[in-house]
């Protein structure tokens, strides 16, 4: 699509400097903003021409990657991402200005991903299979770091698939998305202590499942 280019200036990020949009932006908490310079986009402006596309360009990669890490299925992750953006547009008017947009999107993504997993369980489908054929791709290919074996990556995906969605979400939000346990707890709707417990349990189970790789 010619209109959507995440690397071009077709959708330059616009920081409001005056008016209601600037006021709303100034009210948002700075949390997570250091990780996402686009987190101060105004969701209430999504109905304006071009704002939705700008939101997609800014956040699609993060939303879709987070969705995949929870649902572990490419097609379902795509569905989750689409639903997240449609929900974002539909509920922009109800967005509370006391949280950063990225936090809000994280929360919507986590909820939608879990909802998709519940639907799949209800429809008695088999557990989401680990995707086969892992290969390094995407923008961050881990350059400069020691490259783990393909076998480890496949075993990691399998081990993540054996975690409950709650434990998987906890380890994804903290170890991969680099959120603090309290931030992850706020997104997942649980207490910080519960989040610590889930992280601990997830780590324990993953280490046990991957002990063959870590013991060597």
């Amino acid at each position: 699509m010619a209109g959507l280019d995440r690397s071009s200036d077709l959708f330059p990020h616009r920081h409001p400097t005056s008016g209601w949009l600037a006021f709303a932006t100034s009210c948002w908490a700075p949390e997570l903003s250091s990780r996402d310079e686009h987190s101060r986009d105004a969701p209430t402006a999504l109905r304006a021409d071009g704002e939705f596309e700008r939101l997609v360009v800014s956040h699609l990669e993060r939303v879709r990657n987070l969705a995949y890490r929870i649902v572990l299925c490419e097609a379902t992750a795509d569905d989750v991402a689409q639903e997240v953006f449609l929900r974002a547009r539909a509920s922009a008017a109800t967005f509370r200005g006391d949280a950063a947009l990225s936090t809000w999107l994280y929360r919507v993504t986590v909820n939608e991903a879990k909802s998709q997993l519940r639907k799949k369980r209800r429809s008695r489908e088999s557990p989401l299979p680990a995707e086969e054929g892992i290969e390094h791709r995407g923008r961050d290919d881990g350059a400069g770091r020691e490259s783990p074996s393909t076998e480890l990556l496949q075993d990691m995906e399998r081990a993540l698939g054996q975690l409950s969605p709650k434990l998987r979400t906890a380890i994804v939000l903290t170890a991969i998305e680099q959120l603090s346990p309290s931030e992850a707890a706020a997104i997942d709707g649980c207490s910080t202590a519960t989040m610590y417990w889930r992280i601990h349990q997830a780590r324990k189970k993953l280490k046990h499942a991957l002990r063959m790789h870590f013991e060597s």
């Binding site: 699509m1 209109g3 959507l4 995440r6 939705f52 596309e53 997609v56 360009v57 699609l60 990669e61 879709r64 990657n65 995949y68 890490r69 490419e74 795509d78 991402a81 689409q82 953006f85 449609l86 547009r89 539909a90 995707e131 892992i134 290969e135 390094h136 791709r137 995407g138 923008r139 961050d140 290919d141 881990g142 770091r145 020691e146 490259s147 783990p148 480890l152 990556l153 990691m156 995906e157 993540l160 380890i171 170890a175 991969i176 346990p181 910080t192 202590a193 519960t194 610590y196 417990w197 992280i199 601990h200 349990q201 780590r203 324990k204 993953l206 280490k207 991957l210 790789h213 870590f214």
Partner: protein, 259 residues
């Protein structure tokens, strides 16, 4: 050792996440799809819950009835089997002091560490005997720096009108992240399987499997996350008409100086 394994796990998670990140081709397709759905779907969003698809009212009635049945079943089952922590429930007693001050326990541990070259996995000291577990050779290269003291007290009472009676008290020290099988120093034949790990914010995670000849047919398995130094009920159950309560206290000992 834990930190090292955590770092390895984090590196593997980061590598997996990078390998599984959306690629440019898929991003393009998905972005088009999302924008197209939005363009075509201003009305679709509003109609995402069409009238015909809404659950029929009788389904709500059935759901409420099912929920009521589940609640009733849980209420009946509650006293027939082991239950996990009833948080907020009344404690059997005020927190008890350790049989030996933690400083003394730490000194005892230090002495055993010197004897076993820092390979002590757990230490269970009772009034008349002291048992020591030593790590397997494979794990002895990196002795754990942190140890957790765990106190377990089993009490019982025939009814709520009478005071609690102590059945058994066990105190042990265990290296973090070691799944240890520890014989009870308080009661012959009793065995404790314990795993402990201090997390942030002064909390300690404990996995416990508790078997005692006092209750041969019962088997407790609980996982808890509790603040240091606080006495918490971890299991409450009824057996032959007697109410039992298992309470747990955890404390992190200062790092050991080896050698």
């Amino acid at each position: 050792m834990t930190r090292e394994s955590d770092e390895k796990l984090d590196r593997a998670l980061a590598a997996w996440a990078a390998a599984r990140a959306i690629n440019d081709e898929r991003w393009d397709v998905l972005a088009q799809r999302v924008v197209a759905a939005q363009a075509a779907g201003a009305d679709v969003i509003a109609l995402s819950q069409p009238v015909a698809a809404r659950p029929h009212p009788w389904r709500w009635v059935a759901a409420l009835a099912a929920a009521a049945c589940v609640c009733a079943a849980l209420g009946i089952w509650r006293f027939g089997a082991w239950t996990n922590v009833e948080r907020g429930g009344a404690l059997a007693s005020v927190p008890d002091p350790w049989s030996r001050p933690l400083e003394v326990q730490s000194q005892v541990l230090q002495e055993f560490q010197n004897v076993f070259d820092g390979n002590v996995a757990w230490l269970a000291a009772g009034p008349k005997r002291c048992d020591v577990g030593v790590k397997a050779a494979a794990a002895s290269a990196a002795p754990a720096a942190e140890y957790v003291a765990v106190r377990l007290k089993l009490v019982r009472r025939a009814s709520s009108d009478v005071p609690w009676e102590v059945v058994q008290v066990d105190e042990l020290i265990i290296a973090q992240q070691i799944w240890a099988e520890v014989p009870s120093a308080a009661l012959d034949g009793a065995r404790l399987h314990v795993w402990a790990f201090p997390v942030d914010d002064g909390l300690v995670a404990v996995d416990l499997r508790y078997n005692t000849p006092a209750l041969p047919s019962e088997n407790v398995e609980v996982s808890t996350l509790q603040p240091r130094g606080e006495q918490m009920p971890v299991a409450r159950f009824r057996h032959d008409g007697i109410e039992y309560l298992l309470e747990q206290v955890v404390e992190v000992l200062p790092p050991q100086k080896l050698g």
